[in-house]
């Protein structure tokens, strides 16, 4: 009875089709779990850090462009070597700006510099909260706040 054979073949193929979908799903689930575990490790490793500054542009190459600077909760920025972040740039003041982590957010405050502190191209005149991805300009040095 060919009709019956055909039906059984179709049933088997149909179940095979469904089975492959679930095998693929299983594969994805495994990859997701794997990623989750490695993400846990990554997070554990980076928990100490609360943020980083990526140096985008630095004419005098101090700090060097393309590097990232790990941040503590309080960071002073300026041309004076005693600053947490030492910036060698003619347009930077000795004690130029303070970058602090308060509660949940990063804030930057200008320390009365000559040429001012810029966030995303705007000069600031009071403490300003920063988002990750915001751009900070001290003199000619441009840096980006990253996670």
């Amino acid at each position: 009875m060919t009709g019956e054979v055909l039906r059984i073949v179709l049933l088997v193929l149909q179940l095979g089709f469904l089975a492959i979908i679930y095998l693929i799903l299983f594969g994805f689930a495994r990859s997701l779990l794997h990623d989750l575990r490695s993400a846990e490790r990554t997070r554990a490793a980076s928990r100490a850090g609360i943020g980083r500054l990526a140096v985008l542009e630095s004419p005098e190459d101090e700090p060097p462009a393309g590097t990232t600077i790990a941040l503590g909760p309080i960071n002073s920025i300026g041309r004076n070597v005693n600053n947490t972040i030492y910036v060698e740039d003619d347009f930077a003041s000795a004690s130029h700006a303070m970058l602090t982590f308060r509660g949940r957010s990063w804030f930057v405050e200008d320390q009365g510099s000559t040429n001012g502190t810029y966030v995303n191209g705007h000069r600031i005149d009071r403490p300003v909260a920063l988002s990750f991805g915001d751009e900070l300009a001290i003199g000619r040095v441009r840096m980006r706040l990253d996670r």
Partner: protein, 511 residues
């Protein structure tokens, strides 16, 4: 902080997808069986249009409904209009009714009575395999009953009082179901033509017609009062002979007797009172029983709620019969003693189906136990011409449920034999005796009814009964006959009742 919010968003999305899976499960698994059977489901329509449908046979294998598939279009033919109300029709346009409706999934073949085969068939997506049905009804008896009714408007219901198997159930006038089941356009015209006829042929009077029963109700009243101990077979009422002529005043309302002539009133006990069908006597009996016990027994006998012809799960519905005003589908309390007294002899608000009254007769015949009526005897593999040998499922009645004691039933039975064959009774219901129709040596139990209606309307003519009724014999058939506006029960319904019962006894004897 954003990370926490993203994680929360993830949870909400999981919730949303879970709800969707829940909705999917509801439609695909939980509600699916009901949806799959709906008539406007394209799958059902496609199957009806093109696939064979099971044959329906009578008890002896005569074809009642069959389907031929020509050029990919399936057509249903109904052999006998006497079965139209019972079988119903399977119409693309008007849906399925009757047995066609109750057994639709089996007839189409979407279901299998065996759950394992049912599941395998569904998984393998087998094309539907129609199943055939065999009824308990004998086409010969059904046709005989229909012929007896002739052009009168009415119904005959006959069943085996022991098993509950329906032997005949027909309603007149009837109609031809074949054109209704055919192509949608001509089907509409055929339906319109049927609807234009007088006396609404589409109504199944045996199951869906409700009528005042008149004196046949006295069987119920007598059985209930005896069973409750309110009367004995020897109970008499002292004022009754006087009241037969002067009337019986209940709460200021005067109940009068019907025309007793040629019989003279006397002090009657149960048997003669039933033989002459004394309304006064049974008014007293009803009042002695009392309203509460009256209603209680009515419910036990199956009144006051819809009935169903089995098998269970695939029931044919029978509308509820009432002994008082209907209230929320049940029986309301009697409004006064007059209503109770009148109900005791089947007048006032009493409103019953022939099927219900056939069951009352069957209950007495069956020793006080009401059989569960059923009409489909078995399900078989499909076979076009004659029933297949492969029986897939067999149905039967459930053995009945006790309503009154065997002793009560025996007392009422003997009174009912007197009502047909007794000295007085034969004057009224004598025409119901099977011996008049060529069956000798068999006693008949019965009762006629002449149900009074409004002014100027002919009364409904009733007869209920069973045979053989003599002590020790197993009753073979219980019957109810109704003729709408048929006049006296003794003149019209009783001869039909007697003839149909005699026919069945003869058919049985002939094998």
């Amino acid at each position: 902080m954003i990370a926490i919010n993203v994680r929360r968003l993830g949870l909400y999305l999981i919730l949303a997808f879970a709800i969707m899976s829940g909705g999917l499960t509801y439609w695909q698994v939980i509600d699916a069986p009901q949806l799959a059977a709906r008539d406007d489901n394209p799958q059902v329509i496609a199957a009806r249009r093109s696939q064979p449908r099971g044959t329906i046979f009578d008890a002896r294998g005569a074809v009642l409904a069959s389907t031929a598939v020509t050029d990919g279009v399936s057509r249903r033919t109904y052999a006998d209009p006497a079965f139209s109300h019972l079988l119903g029709y399977a119409s693309l346009r008007f849906g399925t009714t009757g047995i066609e409706g109750a057994f639709d999934d089996l007839l189409i073949g979407r279901a299998d009575p065996n759950p394992v085969r049912d599941l395998v068939g569904q998984i393998l997506a087998r094309s539907p395999e129609p199943k055939d049905l065999t009824l308990t009804v004998d086409k010969r008896l059904q046709d005989f009953a229909a012929a007896q009714l002739g052009s009168s408007v009415g119904a005959v219901v006959a069943l085996d009082p022991v098993t509950g198997g329906i032997l005949a159930s027909t309603s007149t006038p009837t109609f031809d179901a074949t054109p209704i089941s055919g192509d949608p356009e001509p089907a509409g015209a055929a339906m319109d033509a049927i609807r234009a006829q007088p006396n609404n042929p589409l109504v199944a009077r045996d199951r869906q017609g409700r009528y005042t029963p008149g004196s046949i109700m006295k069987i119920f009243t007598a059985a209930s009062a005896l069973d409750a101990g309110a009367i004995t077979p020897k109970t008499t009422f002292a004022d009754q002979p006087k009241e037969e002529t002067q009337g019986f005043t209940v709460d200021g309302f005067r109940i009068t007797e019907h025309d007793l002539s040629p019989v003279q009133p006397a002090l009657w006990d149960l048997s003669p009172a039933l033989q002459v069908s004394s309304n006064i006597y049974f008014a007293h009996v009803g009042l002695a029983l009392g309203a509460e016990r009256f209603l209680d027994y009515a419910r036990r006998f199956g009144f006051c709620a819809p009935l169903a012809i089995g098998p269970s799960g695939r029931e044919l519905p029978v509308v509820a019969s009432y002994v008082s005003a209907s209230s929320d589908g049940g029986c309301a309390p009697f409004s006064d003693r007059v209503e109770l007294a009148s109900a005791s002899f089947g007048q006032a608000k009493v409103n019953v189906t022939p099927m219900q009254m056939a069951l009352v007769a069957a209950t007495i015949a069956n020793g006080g136990s009401t059989p569960q009526p059923y009409v489909v005897r078995d399900v078989r593999s499909h076979s076009a011409g004659a029933p297949s040998k492969s029986v897939l499922e067999t149905y039967s009645g459930d053995g009945g449920r006790g309503v009154v004691s065997a002793q009560t039933a025996a007392t009422v039975r003997s009174a009912m034999i007197d009502a047909v064959e007794g000295q007085l009774g034969s004057l009224y219901a004598g025409a119901g005796a099977v011996k008049l129709y060529g069956v000798s040596g068999v006693q008949t139990a019965g009762k006629t009814g002449t149900a009074q209606r409004g002014e100027g309307q002919q009364p409904h003519s009733w007869f209920i009964g069973f045979a053989p009724a003599q002590k020790g014999a197993t009753p073979a058939i219980a019957i109810a006959v109704l003729i709408e506006g048929g006049g006296s029960g003794s003149g019209n319904a009783a001869p039909i009742g007697g003839a149909v019962m005699a026919e069945w006894l003869k058919l049985q004897a002939a094998g």
